[in-house]
């Protein structure tokens, strides 16, 4: 067993799953627990949203998060804020210099704008989010500006912006310590038309850990 996957995590591993390439994932994570998303093969964009478990109208707000830290880049220490002005999670550790929260999620519809109508049938993150949401009575209204772990979206002085080659690598990760009970929703991005996945969508690993009694 490769112990380095668990290094730095609280001692009790409650969830340890591989999310297949292109697939969605969702899970309940309790306040105080740590969620680790691990970029197994490097430069895999992981689209991510959070909802307050008790009231899913309270959800991750990129705008509130950017305002709270006066910066668009998510780094170690960044607090992920909700649309009600409450902290949902904190990045307590990450081995990637920064992550993105302005690039949004790909969709079949935006793909036709960005690349052409030949991409309309490509699977996309919005469809992953919708499939997950549909199981809980949520839908398109619940999709808001998301986080893109391991994705690189520079902004130049004249405002030019876009997705370029990522700065992640195999085995790098991000750890979130939850500040409230949340539903975490992931789309393991299936995009093949820009560099966000190195033109090759790959699996990622999701772990949830806490300081509870050891599982043995």
């Amino acid at each position: 067993m490769n112990n380095s996957v668990y290094d730095g995590l609280p001692r009790t591993i409650r969830i340890d799953e591989v999310v297949a390439a292109r697939a969605p994932w969702d899970g309940f994570v309790q306040a105080g627990e740590t969620l680790r998303i691990l970029d197994l093969e490097g430069n895999q964009a992981v689209d991510f949203l959070l909802y307050a478990a008790h009231d899913d109208a309270e959800r991750y707000s990129a705008q509130d998060t950017i305002v709270a830290q006066a910066n668009i880049l998510l780094r170690a220490g960044s607090i992920l804020m909700s649309n009600e002005g409450r902290p949902m999670a904190q990045i307590v550790a990450t081995t990637v210099a920064y992550h993105d929260t302005i690039g949004g999620a790909c969709s079949c519809e935006s793909n036709t704008l960005r690349y052409g109508h030949h991409t309309k049938s490509h699977h996309a993150c919005v469809d992953n989010f919708l499939l997950t949401h549909a199981r809980y009575g949520r839908g398109k209204r619940d999709i808001v500006s998301n986080i893109n772990w391991f994705m690189n979206v520079p902004v130049e002085a004249d405002g030019t912006l876009g997705i370029v080659d990522g700065i992640s690598a195999p085995g790098l990760y991000v750890d979130l310590k939850m500040q409230m009970d949340v539903i975490a929703v992931i789309s393991n991005c299936p995009q093949i038309n820009n560099p966000c996945n190195g033109f090759n969508p790959t699996p990622v690993r999701v772990l949830v850990a806490n300081d509870g009694p050891a599982s043995r």
């Binding site: 006066a70 880049l73 649309n83 704008l113 500006s145 405002g159 912006l161």
Partner: protein
Amino acid sequence: MSTSSTTGLQGARAHARAMAGTRVEAMPTVPAEEAVDLPSGVTAQSMVWEETLGAGGYAAKELGRGGCLRLVDLRGDACVSMLVFNAEHPIERLNVADTMKVQWNAYLQPGRLLLSDMGRPLMSILADDARTHDTFCGPSNEHTPRAYGDCGAWGRHPNARGRLLLGVAKFGLGRKDVHPCINWFKGVRIASDGATVLEGGPFPPGRSVRLRAEMNVIVVLTNCPHVLDRRPTYEATPVRISAWRGPVTAPDDPIRNATPESLRAFLNVEEYFRR
């Protein structure tokens, strides 16, 4: 019977009706054809909306495809938060991330589109002599401590998010429909280290933005201090809203044909209206 006495019904009705004709700065002109500030080149008969929003004000209106919307920062210190929805199916709405990403630029300027989350332009930016706008910071909220006190949406210093909620609620929408918004007239630029830099002015009076509706849209507007505005007093000078009917965007329109992305966006909205 005294007309000033409201102890009885006759007096109460007379008291209410005596207010007719009162004019204040922050009010709509109804009918819009009687606009006090007719934009040049626009006929009175084509006007559909004229309204001035004061500090903390909000308004929401449905506009037809092809119509124009002008916002004027009358005295240089307005901040207009905006949400836009497809009036026919409000599940389709302004997507700020797509607006920036698809058009390869973080800053709104003339010739750019306000994109929906469904690959279609909701509005296009025809003109803009302000050039200080914000796609990153969103509306002010009621939680940020302010020197001027409580920021509940019902009070004297209302927060923009709460006022947006009221605007969407008047169209049957709710908390889940207050999405990331655009702020007009206050700029936020991004430094090389990712830091947000407020361009808060105050600015010279009279700057304006002119938008064209590319779908039938619901527009929700508020005029509240920008979330990064740290001044000790609640400051937002009036904004004039004007809207008028116009023709559907023509195939040779320069904004439509400006980039490969804009062209496909217009192909998508033209396809949407093919029925």
